[in-house]
Symmetry: C2
Subunit: 326 residues, 2 copies
């Protein structure tokens, strides 16, 4: 089942079910008016939603309309909890290496996470509005899961059942604000503006083996102005899978329904796969040439993030955003 | 006007208006069923809510019932954005001093903030549930504002009008998890479990001069098992007022209605005022005696946080919580 939120209808949007091939959609207001409502009441509404999705695939749904990602907010236009991991530790290792710092050994054993702004997500085709190019505007292409209610102290072995939906995202980062912010010791805030999500969120069963044991089994493709930035495999070099991330984030708290957990920038040791952000590309250039060659994004630049299945079909639809001045 | 949320009615509670003396309450479902709904639609609903509040003060409201903070969730039982400042920089300076580290000069010029968990707030009388006393369980007594929608790039001079409501809170902290987490460089996560809020949220006009120019003008009182921990003045040694905090947090993003901004631990240089957390008390002991004497909280301990006005009346009602094992 694929779910999305139209921008119309209020701050939480209007829930729609989207056909598997992303061409058609239908409003399901009689079952759940918003995705947050659906997640809040998942045991009561999921079978009804699945019924509509199945009818849609067999062509027996009334009031269908053509699906257009440009009409969509993020699947959750706002959320009560957005926590982003750094599960591809080789990416973190590289960041450190570029600035001549050794990464603590513990980073391989315990996940790094930060909590991101969740009151103002961007839709898949929304502009990335930034006050200054000098902030160092970058994309970070990632995968994510949306959970139901998860108890405190959940173990990785039990975590799979709490994953309701899957997405991809662009964790927009302002690179030149990061060093100053991290130096203060409290983590990211100004350096992580609104995050953008894929047009649709998808139930794990829809991916089959494409999502297994808390890992996505497809490459994630990032393009800038039509040029490939990278296409690393999500299932390669992922140090912590989503089950392990759930164990980590529930150590001292519960998670409310609709919590979004991100993988962090997808990154492979195999550099021929490219990168999921410009910072990584610049770090590799720095290590090789002593300084970066690739600039960060400029106003007018267009970033596209997409995951294709084995048959070349888009699973979540494309994030396709233009950088603009505020 | 004073507003609260009953625990009944769903994940976002049931909005009630509470009498100024905190003795009586009334449901206002015909105007706004939840506080989040009220904040989402503030221009449309605030005059209606004020009308009920005024009628309540003049004793002409029907269906009143006795107000009991034990029936309350946090005013916002969950929120889309909870960002906590560290506006009392002398507290930060002290933390550093206790571990022999100098605080960067820039901390006096630019606010420190971190984003806290907002999907699972505690009500004013809810237990603080922690898996282990070894985590170093501490209170942090703070003040907070709730904003409406705030544009990106808001200046401090224009920020006052975006503050809709005021609260006090207990930013529960797990001290022994903090050093390891901060060492990783991404800020707090496991070390900051669910935050507890006062029974009611109050419009700024209700405080008169008690809230002016983005500063609270009353002391904030913290008690542990009936003993005073501290009663520092909120308007003394506050390096950044709430208007300045709003400027800081909107530099690169908008704030959605219902964003909660915290002051950080209230702290005065005048040590006779005591502290708003045990960590500060322990740091002062460490500086004086070489090691802390006061232990962190244990199971069964009871923490109470309250702000009284000039006449000794409770403005927000008391946060009164017991530490229990999960």
């Amino acid at each position: 089942m694929k779910l999305a939120s139209l921008k119309t209808g209020g701050r939480d949007g209007t829930l729609i079910i989207v056909s598997s091939d992303l061409t058609r959609a239908v409003v399901v207001a009689d079952i759940a008016s918003t995705l947050q409502f659906a997640l809040d009441n998942w045991p009561d509404v999921s079978s009804g939603l699945t019924g509509v999705a199945n009818a849609m695939e067999s062509g027996t749904v009334e009031n269908e309309f053509p699906f257009d990602p440009a009409d969509c907010a993020a699947p959750l236009p706002r959320s009560f909890h957005w926590v982003d991991g750094s599960a591809y530790v080789n990416h973190v290792e590289l960041v450190r290496k570029a600035r001549g710092a050794k990464m603590p050994e513990s980073f391989w054993r315990e996940p790094l996470v930060y909590q991101g702004g969740s009151d103002d997500f961007l839709g898949p085709r929304d502009d990335i509005v930034v006050a200054s190019e000098a902030f160092g505007i970058d994309m970070e292409s990632e995968t994510a899961v949306i959970t139901g209610d998860v108890p405190m102290g959940t173990r990785a072995a039990d975590a799979g059942g709490y994953i309701q939906l899957l997405m991809i995202l662009n964790d927009v980062s302002l690179r030149n604000l990061i060093p100053g912010e991290l130096a203060k010791g409290f983590g990211f805030y100004q350096s992580k503006p609104s995050t953008a999500f894929s047009p649709v969120a998808v139930t794990p069963d829809e991916l089959g083996d494409g999502f297994k044991n808390g890992v996505f089994n497809h490459p994630l493709k990032t393009q800038l102005n039509g040029e490939l930035v990278g296409e690393p495999e999500c299932n390669v070099d992922m140090t912590f899978n989503f089950h392990q991330l759930i164990e980590h984030v529930t150590r001292t708290r519960r998670l409310g329904a609709g919590t979004i957990i991100g993988s962090g920038t997808v990154s492979n040791y195999d550099r021929s796969r490219g990168s999921s952000c410009l910072a990584e590309k610049r770090m590799l250039e720095t290590i090789e040439h002593g300084e970066p060659v690739t600039p960060f994004m400029a106003y007018g630049d267009r970033v596209r993030v997409e995951m294709l299945d084995g048959n070349g079909n888009s699973i979540f639809g494309a994030i396709d955003q233009t950088v603009t001045k505020s």
